[in-house]
């Protein structure tokens, strides 16, 4: 069933430089917002392995590496590079008037 969109203000575009990331608490969801090559991405901040905060990991282009046990995920689709069936929930983003919004009701998004 398609859920209603639920666009939540996350941050100002100026708050993040390219290659930077920031953990946020949006309506009780731990969300990681990232900026890569000018585009904004949002995903759950909890690693699907043991829930470590991905915000403390390292980002290289579109791949984020969890600080705990080095599992690597593509931030665009949330896929775990070593087993695509495992995913980090991702959220849609949009920019309006220098503000970044995250759609918390995206399909596949979890808490």
């Amino acid at each position: 069933m398609k859920q209603e969109d639920n666009w939540i203000f996350a941050l100002k575009t100026d708050d993040l430089g390219n290659g930077e990331k920031k953990p946020l608490l949006l309506e009780n969801n731990k969300v990681l917002v990232l900026r890569i090559d000018g585009d904004f991405f949002a995903m759950s901040n909890k690693c699907p392995h043991m829930e470590c905060p991905l915000s403390k990991g390292t980002l290289e282009q579109y791949v984020i590496k969890c600080p705990c046990h080095d599992w690597r995920f593509d931030v665009r689709e949330g896929k775990f590079l070593d087993a695509e069936e495992i995913r980090v929930p991702i959220y849609e983003t949009k920019v309006m008037e220098e503000s970044v919004f995250v759609n918390l009701n995206m399909e596949g998004a979890g808490k």
Binding site: P48, H49, C68, H69, D70, A83, I86
Partner: protein, 113 residues
Amino acid sequence: MDNEKRKGQLRTMFSKVVDPLGYKFSPDEELVDFLLEQEVNIEKEKGSPFCPCQGLTGEREHDMKLVCPCIPFHREHYDAMRRCWCGLYVHKDVKDPDSLPQISLKEFLEAKK
């Protein structure tokens, strides 16, 4: 935190990880409980729940592939056995885990050829 509680937490987290890979916890409850207990102790000592049945070398790149569940890094081998090396996890359709032998990586690779 007491061991029982941590065992429960690992069980919850790991079942979510192995489920999309086609695995479940072994129906051999005694084995599962024993292995989780070992993992909790290993986690206390080393910081991560490393595999109770495979050896660490101290090199991060090697050892991180042996944090439970290590299935993603040994997928083909474990799929061929229909269980992980320790037998903590088995393919979802497995009812009699004792019937699944351990096949060494070397034998597996030779059989593949």
